[in-house]
């Protein structure tokens, strides 16, 4: 177990700087997920922690020691790869035992530890097989077994579930989370899938273009996003962004809707974020009142996603739990409570100074 600290880490490939001046503290025993769109540098960051990519600048501390120039083994890390990277010519048992053999453990100790790992992952019956004769989920377990057998200080996962089918992904997700609760080692997990991040993480680090956009618990990120990028990236379906125009103490929204607002230094143009599940079909309830034209209804059993657009053409997606009978082409009024709205400046920054008020009665 160990605390991982990144201090002003940077990474360049020649002239190209992919990670710039990144600092991060990863608590001992935490489950931290790096999430971001492809090309955001999350895998590169993980590989730098693993020791597979040289660090261009800054300090990497693992368990209080500077680890920039240490070998992967000396860092005390183990890694699970996206393609599992099982040695095809070895049996499952030898795959799991390989790192122990390299570390010079005795035969009996190796056998004991392999059996223990196999027990945890319930792969005891597969030990004699070759990777080619395993299913995707079994390969994944073996890959995890290979990591846990060493009892490393830090586990690194590089998109380990992206090669599995949807059903297996969900079950492996909870297994990895349970494994973390059981082992209590520090785990760092990279994914581009925000659902994985939300469901597994103690702490999420949202990355974009080599920089940290926001760090926090899943709930913090969901409820209190620092900017429009995090707001749009976290949460599924995506948050809707509505253009709004501030004039005096009023906000004008598409379709003639208005809200009162107060705050200093507000930009003229801004955008309001509405989560699909915050919108309520119908006219009841206060707050923001809007109307959308429904273009598509996605029926998901317990809930429905209504796709459509507002009067000015802004795309809108709302979730409706009890709105049976809505068809494409219908005009659907909906409301949204003011406390569920998030306001962003044109550059994406969160407008925390803005407070929204109910629309003034239209007397003027």
């Amino acid at each position: 177990m160990a605390r991982v600290t990144l201090r002003n880490i940077s990474k360049s490939y020649g002239q190209l700087e992919v990670i710039r001046d990144l600092s991060l503290d990863i608590e001992d025993g935490s489950f931290t997920v790096f999430v971001g769109p492809s090309g955001c540098g999350k895998s590169t960051l993980l590989r730098m922690i693993a020791g597979l990519e040289p660090i261009t600048g800054g300090d990497l501390m693992i368990g209080g020691t500077r680890a920039n120039d240490l070998d992967p083994v000396a860092r005390g890390i183990a890694m699970v790869f996206q393609n599992y990277a099982l040695y095809p010519h070895m049996t499952v048992e030898k795959n799991i035992a390989f790192s122990l053999k390299m570390a010079g453990y005795g035969r009996a100790e190796i056998a004991r530890r392999v059996a223990e790992a196999a027990e945890v992952l319930q792969i005891g019956h597969l030990l004699g097989r070759r990777p080619a004769n395993l299913s995707g989920g079994q390969r994944q377990r073996v890959a995890i077994g290979r990591a846990i057998v060493r009892d490393p200080a830090v586990f690194l996962f590089d998109e380990p579930l992206s090669n599995l089918d949807a059903e297996l992904r969900v079950s492996m997700r909870s297994e990895i989370a349970q494994l973390h609760q059981r082992l209590t080692n520090t785990m760092i997990y990279v994914t581009h899938d925000q659902t994985e991040a939300m469901t597994m993480a103690d702490r999420i680090v949202v990355l974009r273009e080599g920089r940290i956009e926001q760090t926090g618990t899943p709930q913090e990120l969901y409820e209190d996003p620092a900017n429009a990028f995090v707001a749009g990236f976290i949460g599924s379906p995506r948050m809707n962004f509505l253009p709004a125009r501030a004039s005096g103490s009023a906000l004008e929204l598409p379709g003639g809707a208005r809200l009162g607002c107060a705050g200093d230094g507000l930009p003229r143009e801004l955008s309001l974020g509405i989560r699909p599940e915050a919108a309520r079909p119908g006219r009841e309830g206060g707050g923001l009142r809007l109307e959308m034209e429904v273009a598509l209804v996605e029926y998901l059993g317990g809930t429905r996603y209504l796709h459509g657009h507002l009067a000015d053409g802004t795309a809108m997606l709302i979730e409706a739990r009890s709105a049976a009978g809505i068809r494409p082409g219908d005009r659907l009024p909906f409301t949204c409570p003011l406390e569920a709205l998030r306001a962003f400046a044109p550059d994406g920054a969160r407008l925390r100074s803005l407070s929204l008020l109910p629309a003034e009665p239209e007397t003027a």
Binding site: A50, G51, L52, D71, P72, V73, I77, A78, M79, F81, Q82, N83, Y84, A85, L86, Y87, P88, H89, F98, S99, M102, A103, P131, A132, L134, G136, R139, V142, A143, R146, N163
Partner: protein, 273 residues
């Protein structure tokens, strides 16, 4: 889906195959006839008398057995050396970073365009000055050295598709570069190494120029074959018998290993393909 080819294709391919086989039949029949019968043409089977005379004479009058052993020895050493060193070189060029890596690689691969004949005279002078003429090393060194151009290239192009994660996983597991080569890369390179081995075996076995110039005694079969042709008597029947002995071994090797030769073996780290 298997498709039955039209009959005329089978006939055409059969005819071409027959055409290829005729010289082989000729060599076999020649080795079994007397010089007089051969002078009439080996295909005149009407009044030919068959004899094993050429086979016994070539075995007793010429050191065929010693030459066979010499061929086996030279070829085996050169083949094993290529099998071990070419993959090591390909691995180093592909995965390790060292100064002049690219330049050296280009130099090695470019030996492709260098005809064997070009190196023979400078090599002869070198061996003579070093007193290596007649030593097996005089042949084995160029055998192995000249094989690198294609062998390194062949293994390296296979490594292009080798999953990089396996190498990285080995690094994470605490395996050094040399250990990674022997424990992870080599066991998964069976098919390109077999291909190298077969090509190198055939090339060394059939090589004539190098052993003829650099060896005095202990000559391999190919050189012995050339010596059987006497100055006045072509000894065609004995040459044929020796040629069959010479061709037999590579033929067996090829038949036995043709599967590895043709197989394209994809190494996979276990991910979905």
């Amino acid at each position: 889906m298997p498709v039955t080819p039209p009959k005329w294709i089978i006939a055409l391919v059969g005819a071409i195959g027959l055409l290829w086989i005729v010289p082989l039949i000729g060599v076999a029949l020649t080795s079994l006839q007397t010089p007089e019968a051969i002078a009439r043409g080996w295909w005149n089977l009407g009044n030919a008398d068959f004899t094993l005379d050429a086979w016994t004479r070539v075995w007793t009058e010429y050191p065929i057995a010693a030459s066979l052993w010499s061929s086996v020895k030279l070829t085996a050493i050169a083949t094993v050396l290529t099998m071990l060193t070419a993959p090591a070189a390909a691995y180093a060029f592909h995965y390790l970073r060292f100064p002049l890596r690219r330049g050296t690689l280009i130099l090695v691969i470019n030996a492709f365009v260098l005809p064997q004949q070009v190196v023979i005279i400078p090599l002869f002078q070198l061996w003579r000055d070093m007193g290596l003429i007649g030593n097996v090393a005089a042949v084995i060194v160029p055998y192995v050295g000249l094989s690198y151009a294609w062998a390194v290239f062949l293994v390296k192009s296979f490594l292009e598709d080798f999953p990089k994660e396996l190498i990285e996983a080995a690094r994470i597991d605490g395996c050094g570069p040399v250990g990674t080569f022997f424990r992870i890369v080599l066991p998964n390179l069976v098919s390109p190494i077999s291909a190298c081995a077969i090509l190198q075996f055939l090339w060394c076995w059939n090589s004539l120029l190098l052993p003829m110039l650099f060896l005095r005694e202990d000559v391999p079969l190919t050189v012995m074959l050339a010596r059987i042709a006497g100055q006045y008597d072509p000894n065609v029947n004995m040459q044929s018998a020796a040629a069959i002995v010479t061709a037999f071994v590579p033929l067996c090797v090829f038949i036995l290993f043709q599967k590895q030769f043709a197989a394209g073996n994809q190494v996979s780290g276990g991910g979905k393909e």
